[in-house]
């Protein structure tokens, strides 16, 4: 099996690579590439993302044909794709970080700044927080409700259809921290930095 981590200059992805390789060991081949043919032929794709919504969308668009290839993979061919952090956020139609920016539009919704109640809650939301699992998910197999995951973000994904929400976390409000629509999975937290629970999620995704 081939799992491809999309390398599109979205910032620091070495931790994502290390964690997937740790979990995959020799059983699964982890590719790190932006090569369209390699993405097309892989079994699963991981879409990381760090920095701002706009910088990640811009970086995706900079690589000719990448957005179309990813859409074909996830939307037409319905193969499993995992978005992490801004990788999840980009599923939305639109994001409001820096300037209004169009997202991939795979899951209807928007990405807006966490309401921190006028400064009562510090932003970014950095650190370990519990996830409240909202629906059964294959990537949460073996993960207890209220497990701790590592977060770093100031913006949140607000989907239109609430049934796609697979987990939330409590920070000022109920922040969406995992979404799932058929074969498309996303986590706002960083499984690659969430110790054993995070590695378990990665393992679940690899074994889908």
């Amino acid at each position: 099996m081939n799992v491809t981590i999309v390398d599109y200059n979205s910032g620091n992805i070495s931790s994502v690579i290390n964690s997937f390789r740790e979990v995959a060991k020799d059983k699964v081949n982890i590719e790190v590439t932006s090569d369209l043919n390699k993405i097309k032929s892989s079994d699963k794709v991981v879409l990381p993302g760090q920095g701002s919504f706009k910088s990640c969308v811009d970086a995706l668009n900079k690589i000719d044909g990448l957005v179309d290839t990813l859409s074909e993979f996830a939307i037409n061919n319905k193969k499993p794709l995992l978005g992490i952090c801004v990788g999840l956020q980009m599923f939305a139609d639109i994001g409001y970080e820096e300037v209004e920016t169009k997202g991939l539009g795979w899951i209807s919704g928007k990405v807006s700044k966490i309401d921190n109640q006028g400064g009562k809650f510090k932003l970014p939301h950095i650190g370990w927080n519990e996830i409240n699992i909202k629906k059964e998910s294959k990537i949460f197999k073996g993960i207890e409700n209220n497990s701790h995951m590592y977060f770093v973000h100031s913006y949140e994904f607000v989907p239109e259809d609430k049934s796609v929400i697979s987990a939330t976390t409590d920070y000022s409000t109920d922040v969406v921290c995992a979404a799932e629509k058929e074969n498309i999975f996303g986590t706002q937290f960083h499984p690659e930095k969430s110790d054993k629970s995070g590695l378990k999620i990665i393992d679940n995704f690899i074994n889908l």
Binding site: G11, N12, S14, N18, K122, P124, G127, W128, V152, D195
Partner: protein
Amino acid sequence: MLKNRIIPCLDVKNGRVVKGINFVDLQDAGDPVEQAKIYSDGGADEICFLDITASNENRDTIYEVVERTSKKCFVPLTVGGGVRSVDDINKLLNCGADKVSINTAAVQNPEVVIESSKKFGSQCIVVAIDAKKNGDKWEIFTHGGRNNTGIDAIEFAKKMEDSGAGELLVTSMDRDGTQVGYDIELMSKISSQVNIPVIASGGVGNLDHLVDGIKLGNASAVLAASIFHYGKHSVKEAKEYLDSKGIPVRI
């Protein structure tokens, strides 16, 4: 609910741990990777390496250490010490650091903070503020605490937030190494003036100091070095103690 973080810090010189945990079962007590792994297995919420390598020719040793650590530890790794340029930051991130802490360079050339937070995102830019009390204010020191810049620490903290820092690592130079506790006044002043998380550092001698840093200093995270060395306290003990005092921690 967001948990307060406990961050053990290891001083690394020429690729070796300077102090560190002195357990008998360690194969190589000087190996930063092995020590970091003990911390992360023990429940550390993050690991911090402070590179105190003095000579330029040995500076590359930290990259190899970070690279090896990031393949073994799956909690956030912050690396600081001697970070001068956007290129240095890029190299550390590529080796597997999750955050880079910038001290002297942030004071001498705030552009580094602006540029790097734009390029890599605020989430990986930590500005380390070394401050010392002078009368009724605190002044910024650079070069590992040797140079007094006369810059007001509170004003500087606000400026760094505006420049794109994602977190502030605040060390009291008066308290560092004394084991008498954090400078609570400094921590709470800075924490109340900025909207980004503050990590308290410098002066921890016992577990109550960690409690004070969070409860009185309003720090989001507490960093400590020596209390975790030589097995005086484990990270697990520290967490259980904080938990017993009603502080939310990840256990």
